[in-house]
Amino acid sequence: MKEFELRSGRLIDPRVSIIYTLIFSIIIALSSNMLVAVVGLISSIILTILIAINIAMILRRLLIVNIFILILWLILPFSTPGPIIFSIGGLKASMSGVSYALLISLKSNAIVITAISLLSSGGIFNLVRALSDLRIPDKLIYIFFLFYRYTYVLFSEYETIKQGLKIRGFEPKTSFHTYRTYGYVLGALLLKGYERSEKIHRAMLCRGFEGKYRLLDHFRIGPNDLIAIFMMALNIIILLLLQWNRLI
């Protein structure tokens, strides 16, 4: 939690971050050009270094993403038709399969690195505020914010229940008793979540909530943001030119 609060300070206007992440992700995701993917990845790494946020945290999250990508590497080279470059046992790996897997790895890492370093560095409230300033419908913002806010609450509720199970000597086994107990836990969580949401709704009504989140602070574009906007725009232009083969 402490870390979370410290990170609430901002480096780049979150509105700029959101828009950039969106445009960048769309370009990278839609491109099947290897050069665009490579430049995209390099630019996302440069961005992370410039923002200088917790590199260890980024690596930890990247690891999770890359576990999925590893699975692609196990399947794609052997299932895509094309000229064969090597074979293991009876399995033949094709050139196009390898390059396809490589492209996906580069693209997904570029997008994830950019999203993590820009979006998770500003803290949730800056993000909520920025979304509201960008005229995103309020209902979507609440869903996003309340989902984030109450995931913690439900999780800690789950931890409490789990401890309750432990002190009564519960040990998960492959048995009907275990499955039934987990069923009960899930049911209890569902009910608690529902009840909690009702209470929060009441609390909001008591304070005059009429379906609209009113915000106290708004963002102003500062000199740092202008530099960031310039660099981000430049990067996007480079990526687009590469995509259309105009640069080299």
């Binding site: 402490k2 949730i124 409230f125 209470k199 009504l205 005059g208 106290l216």
Partner: protein, 220 residues
């Protein structure tokens, strides 16, 4: 402001489905600058009574008259909620904003107070409950006592004419209880406190009631 009769419940009946009536034919009055305590066993309907006053649940029968007007529809309760501050039993149910500052500002902003004024209200109310300097913190990272004081601040920020406090001291340490007592002792407040703590009620309220079998009775 100088209404004598702030809250007036007449013949209120309420029950949850498939259970005997929690409140049956209940009459209750809160006068201006009256400080009322309600005590009673768990599940006797104390919190339900507060919910009915706030319009969060509707009685099956009976009349709810607040600030001289009969309140029936959801819209009737808008004014009620503006003027009556309700402290929930569990502060986690009450705090939902991303920062302490926005938590306190939520009510005043909903009621259309302008932003400069809100900034001032936030600073003043946080000072009143001893949470100055907590503005950027996240409410869910606060301690139990701090949460309760923040919940109080969110209510005071709306400058209510009446307070409804549901178990305001439950689970709090002595020091926090003393703090809350001091806040409640400021002159001119009208409030209803629901509590299991007889001594606390004796100290802070003029009249005590108990709810039993759906009826409210004054404790002499």
């Amino acid at each position: 402001m100088e209404q004598i009769n702030l809250i007036n419940l007449k013949g209120v009946c309420f029950g949850y489905p498939q259970r005997p009536d929690l409140l049956s034919d209940l009459d209750f009055t809160l006068n201006f600058q009256e400080r009322v305590g309600i005590i009673g066993p768990n599940g006797c309907g104390k919190t339900t009574l507060l919910y009915i006053i706030m319009g969060l649940i509707k009685p099956r029968r009976g009349e709810v008259e607040i600030f001289g007007k009969t309140r029936r529809e959801e819209g009737d309760f808008k004014e009620v909620r503006k003027k009556i501050g309700f402290l929930f039993q569990n502060s986690d149910d009450q705090l939902f904003c991303p920062s302490v500052k926005e938590e306190v500002a939520f009510g005043p902003l909903n009621f259309g107070v302008n932003k400069e004024m809100v900034q001032k209200i936030v600073a003043d109310t946080l000072a009143r409950v001893g949470l100055s300097g907590f503005e950027p913190r996240t409410p869910y990272s606060l301690s139990g006592g701090e949460k309760r004081r923040l919940a109080l601040a969110t209510i005071f920020a709306m400058n209510p004419e009446v307070l409804l406090l549901d178990e305001p001291t439950i689970g709090l340490d002595e020091e926090t209880v003393i703090r809350i007592k001091e806040i409640l002792k400021s002159p001119g407040l009208s409030y209803i406190i629901v509590s299991q703590n007889r001594l606390f009620l004796k100290e802070l309220t003029d009249i005590q009631y108990t709810i039993n079998n759906g009826k409210i009775k004054r404790i002499e």
